[in-house]
Point group: C2
Chain length 295, copies 2
């Protein structure tokens, strides 16, 4: 299969949905502008693509769940805006562009994040976005995503990350941070795709295992890239995590062992897909592609 | 009817739900602590009570929707935490207690707000909280609440409020701010109660009209109290809105006319309830009680 083409098609579907959804100019203009600024700041739509690929692995047509899959990007984007705030990581650049609060100020940036998060659940509460998804499955997918994003998921990881700045790195805390801050939403993305398709709990379980390993791999590779990358390619100040003494895999295990861990995780992710036929090839390809990621 | 007793019973039901829902200590402890600090900082649970009273007006038993009604308090509380931030209103006190960020720092306060908002929609996605509510009605109530809280509702009002600081007060902008910042969620609370009961659109429409007028009245009275009250009674720095030149009703119309407007709105709210029998008496009593509010 042509993975590049696959990724582009799916990304385009998400982008089109956002353009359509937010086409009407709402007041106050600066709020919507600020939301769209970050939403179209170069995100690769990884989480929506994973949700759609999982839905396809279960026999569905990705086009039927584009709005629901897109909510994962709304949540991801909100988390980046809030992470970048002066009170948090205090980052000036994100993907090579000034961060939201640098452009719109802190107040609007906080509120734009709040609005993106809220809009995700507004879309997940609207059954009119698809006639293929059952009400109960939509509720279950929404609950899954909310659990992954909330105080037992992503937010817990972010708080722990902040608490751990300048602390001695220990493996258990690092695991907690990654499992919650990054892996939880990646896992929920894949799982939500399965849930929306109405698949059996066995099938959803296999997807969950894939998502779990992928989520973990994702953060390990992020950490590696942060050490290796150069500012131009990565679009953020390289070594910025190092600078404020954040716990990272390379810091704890060194670069080589970190790369080994990433490979093991990706292999485990692919192995979880054994119950699926070629319908899961995109998920398999995405996993392998992840290892070659350079930005 | 004994309104005081009614309000206390309903408030106790909400408080009990929160204690039960958050009884397990989650990591990191400071996040949950910060969420609960603001959740139990003296809120009167007005929005959940309105939702439950609306549900009862439609013939339901309030006990059947306590978790769903409580989500309105989660959202209200998140909005207060974010409003108080240094980047927004920069308030040190809320209901006589130090604001969340004063106690836990800005980063944790922002994330506690995020977590409360997310948890609201997690609960609204979980049909196991009631066997009386249909899946479709739960989705509709959730969508209604999300719309009221998001970039076309509460967040829009907050952004406009910030944009309007130090600007000349004009009536149209003041209306926009209040309609969105406060009235939208009050209206959604009442409406959601009706939706959850599975009532006809006519009945929900009557509740919406009540909620609309109540929401508006609420903010007018808030503004009046802000001018009149003393710090001890109100628990926040009196005149703080005046100080930073926020648009308020008293500033625009004077105190007496503002009080007249509040009375007209409450009368209109009560008139909307003509289609209901005595089941709507709590809604009627709450409206009249609002006018006598002193804190």
């Amino acid at each position: 299969m042509d993975l590049k083409k696959y990724l582009k098609e799916k990304k385009d579907a998400v982008d089109s949905f956002f353009r359509e959804y937010f086409r009407e100019q709402r007041r106050p203009a600066v709020l919507q502008e600020s939301m769209l600024y970050s939403l179209f700041a170069g995100g690769k739509r990884v989480r929506p693509i994973l949700a759609m690929a999982a839905y396809e692995a279960c026999g569905g047509a990705a086009a039927d769940i584009v709005p629901y899959a897109s909510t994962l990007e709304l949540i991801h984007t909100y988390s980046l805006i809030h992470d970048d705030l002066p009170a948090m990581d205090n980052d000036d650049l994100r993907r090579g562009k000034p961060t939201n609060h640098k452009v719109y100020g802190e107040a609007v940036a906080i509120l734009a994040g709040d609005a993106l998060l809220t809009e995700a659940f507004r879309i997940l509460s609207d059954p009119s976005h698809s006639n293929k998804v059952k009400d109960r499955d939509l509720l279950k997918a929404s609950a899954e995503i909310a659990a992954a994003a909330g105080y037992q998921g992503m937010v817990a990881g972010q708080v722990q990350d902040i608490l751990s700045e300048n602390a001695e790195a220990d493996a258990e805390t690092l695991q907690f941070i990654h499992r919650h801050k990054t892996a939880a939403l990646i896992r929920a993305s894949v799982k939500a795709g399965g849930i929306l398709s109405g698949s059996s709990s066995e099938v959803v379980g296999a997807l969950t295992s894939y998502g779990e390993n992928m989520g973990h791999a994702f953060q390990v590779i992020d950490d590696i890239l942060d050490v290796e990358g150069d500012t131009e390619e990565l679009g953020k100040t390289v070594g910025s995590d190092e600078k404020i003494n954040k716990m990272t895999y390379p810091r704890l295990y060194g670069l080589e062992r970190s790369r080994g861990i990433a490979k093991e995780l990706v292999d485990a992710a692919v192995a979880s897909l054994d119950v699926f036929s070629s319908g899961a090839d995109p998920l398999r390809e995405i996993a392998r592609y992840l290892l070659e990621r350079r930005n």
